[in-house]
Amino acid sequence: MQVNEGFKPTIVAFCCNWCSYAGADLAGTNRLQYPADVKIIRVPCSCRVNPLFILRAFQRGADGVILCGCHPGDCHYTTGNYYARRRMTLLFSMLDYLGIERERTRVEWVSAAEGVKFAATMNDFVSTVTALGENKRLEDLRCKAN
Amino acid sequence: MTNSQELKETLARISGVDVRKCMRCGKCSGTCPAYDEMEYHPHEFVYMVEKGEIEKLMASPSLYKCLSCFACVERCPRGVEPAKVVEAVRLLVIRQQGCNHMTPDQIPALLDEDLPQQAIVSAMRKYSK
């Protein structure tokens, strides 16, 4: 994979409160490093994430958006991540269909115990998005810093 | 990388077996019909691979006592698949340079009217690596 020297992507990570946010905390407790480019937004459940939020992030300058939730079957609310899974599958497929680089969006299931997986996922996602470079296809020029 | 580590990795690649999944219950050896014929028993195969003592296994005639009946694979509660380990060690032996190695000049001596040509060709392919 090519490396985009010097490019620091903006990554928004939506994490469900019960599993993935706790997984991120565990990564922190275990001092597992991942790039500071990742900024986490806490949501109660992966099913709280509206496609509007994902598009909004890209509009405002995100280069990648990742959604993390409890593993299917482990949702704190029993079924939330199942709905999130369908929604995101279809949304991501649509973005890809519109020619938006599919690697800019991702869903990962990270449990509260998977600090290692959280850090590894973020490292991988950051390097993938870094290689893609700046988000051009879904940007809104009005929002670029000037 | 030491030879033993290298062998271990090759073996893992050939067999597709993760020996660390073994919980040492011994059911493979409990189920093995060729147990008494063997110097190293199925559970030992797995354990010795984990310890990296693969060369010992390669030298052991136990390799050829395994009937490949796959009873151990069938019964293993952890899905370790000992028979695949045994087969992989056999392949390691075969793949070793100089051992079972066949050169073209050996072929005339092997030729035999009853032997199909194809057998020679495939033997060449297999043993000349």
């Binding site: 405002r60 300058g61 009005r142 929002c143 810093a145 000037n146 | -």
Partner: protein
Amino acid sequence: MKKLPLSQMPALYAAMAQGGALYLPVDNAAGDAQFTRWQEGMELSRALNTVRSAKDFFFPQTENLVSFRMQGKTIEIIDPRTEGEDFVLFGVRACDARSFTILDKVFLADPVDSYYKSRREHGTVVTLACTRPEETCFCQSFGIDPADPEGDAACWLTEDALYITARTAKGEALLARLDGLLEDADPAPVEAQKAQTAAILAKLPLAQFTTRSFGGDVLMKAFDSPKWASLSEACLGCGTCTFVCPTCQCYDIRDFDTGHGIQRYRCWDSCMYSDFTKMAHGNPRTSQLERFRQRFMHKLVYFPANNDGEYGCVGCGRCLAKCPISMNIVKVAKALEGDVHE
């Protein structure tokens, strides 16, 4: 009257584009004509007219008016305007050319809209006479002669040549720039074409359509007509008619939060929309009937009442062609005719 052989058209375009931009109708991916910035190799569309009218160039769909840049707790106010580029609008039809006059009455009346004014000043309108009007055309109802269009300069395309004549000082200036390409011409072929077109115009299905009955004091009669209910029944409340209309000039001013500040922009609005002219207390026109009525009353009654009898319509026929439910000013005017002339 000047002319140039058709083979010279690319050179004409290049000359027009010198020192600015040239926009002309070009076929887009959907096969429709669309005003496009001319580039080498582009050809004029053969379609009668563009889907979007030419008003975009003076009154674009969105336009930044002012920006506010926020840094911490300070706000800086920025005028985003830069010195505009001169441009030539080529191939404008007579109806759209007339629409500029109507827009001027709105935007150039006191208080003058400086954004609009600046664009008008930078633009030179070169019109093109129609030879094959369509069934939806009714510009003649408003005294427009599509065979002899207005504009800074007017053109006629014949089989072998383009005839051009200047009508304003801006047009003269343009022609002067094109001088090397043009030759003096006998206007006879142009006159012949005008006669031919006039014959077709007389046969158009809407040739007899007139809005004359809306002249005079018909406001309350029209407003109170019971027909509005059935006319507006099927209206979807979309903005298609408004947005393809060359004379619709309503806009909304909105703020966009960019994250670093605010961009205050204006964008086309449609009186068909439920939030049109929405104010703090709510919406003055709460039903689609009222909104629908507003649009046609404005074009047929209010606008002429305030603008020396000039209707807010140029008969381009775009709304006839594009309304999803085929409701339009012609149907409305015909339906109301009886009511206003009781």
